[in-house]
Amino acid sequence: MISDRVKSNLKRTFGESLLPKLGLVLLVVILVMAAFAPVLATHDPTRTGYFHENGGPYPPPGFDYTTTVAADGEIGEVQITSTSEHLLGTNTVGQDVYSRFLYGARVSLLVSLFGVTLASLIGVPFGLIAGYYGGRIDDGLMRLADVMLAFPALVLALALIGVFGSQPIRVPDPIVAAGLAPGMPPSIPIPGSVTIVVALVTWVWFARVARGEALSIRNEAYIKAAKSFGTADWRILLKHVLPNSLTPIIVLATIQMAIIILIEASLAYLGFSGTTLSWGYEIETGQDVLRTRPWVAMVPGIGIVLVVVSVNLLGDWFRDALDPNIEGSERGA
């Protein structure tokens, strides 16, 4: 499937620069954070009410603040200091920011991984068939692609959310079910409709790339040979065209993954999230208290930047090693 030339290119470019290594390390750290969130978290991320005894949320180190309190009929200023109990402080409703940071990584990664998979499952077969057969099917796909591209991805996603709603699907958390993390939420909310929506706004890129590949492969000698033996078309598509188109599709997938993470965060920020555990949602709640509790908006944003940077670094590595010119790879949310 992946040729030796590609493998050696990947190795060479990985050794040449620091950036792919950095991307890989970052992504592994984030994957571990997300996978073992219930074990690594110090508090139930959904539990509210962790406030300082003087009323305000706990700040992280360096963000101590003063607040006015009335005690014994007098009004006075009270210093609110950070605590080791809450590493990154607590938010406006008194939830532990560090634990929510870990769980937010889950939402971001689950939506983007499922989203990319779904988008390629829709786009790749469509594109391969269109490119392989050409003619009317191909014309139809290209016109449909033109229409899809006239919608900004985020705007189309917003319109689709209006139709699908944004109810999350709850699945049992395997780590909690195994009894490894007592006291943590027993189920994970997966924003199912958000995942469908991001796939519906990105599949067209997979279709376009797959179509281009199929178009250039269909006239190769080995395809003609297979045809002359009477091999069925679906078999040729599956055994020859698909494996030979895979490299650019993988590059595209990394780049679209970064874009999907940004779209998910934007939807959540605008209030169309499937779950309050999303980093984008957390930033939205932090906006109202930006002036007094800046860490609430700061922390989840750093999470988004780190995930997207790591995915982009890997995407750049793949692209440098595999194919410098892939359509749709310079496109954002």
């Binding site: 603040y65 591209l149 006239a150 705007v155 139709v163 940004l262 920020y269 310079e330 954002g332």
Partner: protein, 348 residues
């Protein structure tokens, strides 16, 4: 093929795309949950009243008749009435267009002014500290969600001028900073047009100054992604071009390197950048929706979000349709520009 023929063909294709967009929007509205008449009248409406509205709005007709009516109305430029405010959608869109265009243009100008020189320096001094910083900047730029960037800028500007963060309010027109360089974190001062009129009429720069102050933070927020993207494109494009034989040949002939770099190499690099800019218009508009929300900027994006919140479909459709038309028109212009920038490209 002549230019006129080319433009005609592209326009026809554009009309087809717009028809597709209209059809998708109609389909979405048709399958979306909630009865339009109830949404229009609010929860307390009587069954009788709802039935009257359904009849009057043609909601009892079969779906293909409704589609036909909708297309017919659009062709004569009738986008209908907002369900929420009962105002004409055309007016509600048009009054918000200048703010969004100002923001988009300002962001693009900032992006081009910073990105092209940065990309050129980065490409001509590969491996230097300035190349590394440009690469790092562009990596962060394409990886940062712009709504978060906007909030962090609001914080940063306050800290920069020694203002303790408790005095900053996002989305308000209350300025951050002091004296000449105070930057409001929200709303729009005078429109650019009004500001220029004031300058011409009274020779007063106050309005223009106010406009600049208000647009600075939103434009940087929206423009950062594009600055990063264009820096990357300029850098990789320049590196490709600099390796071509004609560069060595012209330099060997004794043409100054600076002249070669800026006159020939940069020009050839700009061709793909212009194309990408056209295709990125959608991203720019998506970014504008978010940026306008952060900064309370009164453009079509802010209006789209409020329309979405109350499922005001006619208004949503009007705004999205406008964005799609803009995308199509700009890409036709880009294609025409392409032939101008690169004489080797023949129109087919």
């Amino acid at each position: 093929m002549s230019m006129a023929k080319f433009l005609l063909r592209r326009t026809l294709q554009g009309v087809f795309v717009i028809w597709g967009v209209v059809t998708v929007l109609f389909g979405l509205r048709a399958v979306s949950p909630g009865d339009p008449a109830t949404l229009m009248l609010g929860q307390g409406a009587t069954q009788e009243l709802i039935e009257q509205v359904r009849e009057a709005e043609g909601l009892n007709e079969p779906i293909h008749v409704q589609y036909g009516d909708y297309l017919g109305d659009l062709i004569v430029g009738d986008l209908g009435y907002s369900w929420q405010s009962e105002r004409e959608v055309e007016l509600m869109v048009i009054e918000r267009i200048p703010a969004t265009i100002e923001l988009a243009v300002a962001a693009t100008v900032i992006a081009l002014l910073i990105a092209v020189p940065l990309g050129v320096v980065s490409a001509t001094r590969r491996g230097s500290p300035s190349d590394y910083s440009a690469t790092l900047f562009s990596l962060l730029g394409i990886s940062t969600p712009n709504f978060w960037l906007g909030l962090m800028l609001i914080l940063l500007v306050g800290v920069w001028y020694g203002i303790p963060y408790p005095t900053i309010t996002p989305g308000s027109s209350f300025p951050v900073g002091i004296g000449l360089i105070d930057l409001p974190t929200g709303r729009r001062g005078a429109g650019f047009g009004e500001a220029v009129m004031a300058l011409l009429r009274d020779g007063s720069v106050d309005q223009l100054g106010l406009w600049v102050k208000h647009i600075t933070l939103p434009a940087i927020t929206l423009g950062t992604y594009f600055t990063a993207l264009i820096t990357r494109l300029t850098r990789s494009g320049m590196i490709d071009e600099l390796g071509k034989p004609y560069v060595t040949a012209t330099e060997a002939k004794g043409l100054p390197g600076v002249l070669v770099r800026y006159k020939h190499v940069l020009r050839n690099t700009m061709i793909p950048i212009v194309t990408v800019l056209g295709l990125q218009m959608g991203t720019l508009m998506g970014g504008a929706v978010i940026t306008e929300t952060v900064f309370n900027w009164p453009g079509i994006g802010l209006r789209l979000i409020s329309a979405l919140g109350v499922r005001d479909w006619p208004l949503m459709q009007g705004i999205i349709l406008f964005i799609a038309i803009m995308f199509v028109v700009i890409n036709i212009v880009v294609d025409a520009l392409y032939t101008y920038l690169d004489p080797q490209v023949t129109i087919e």
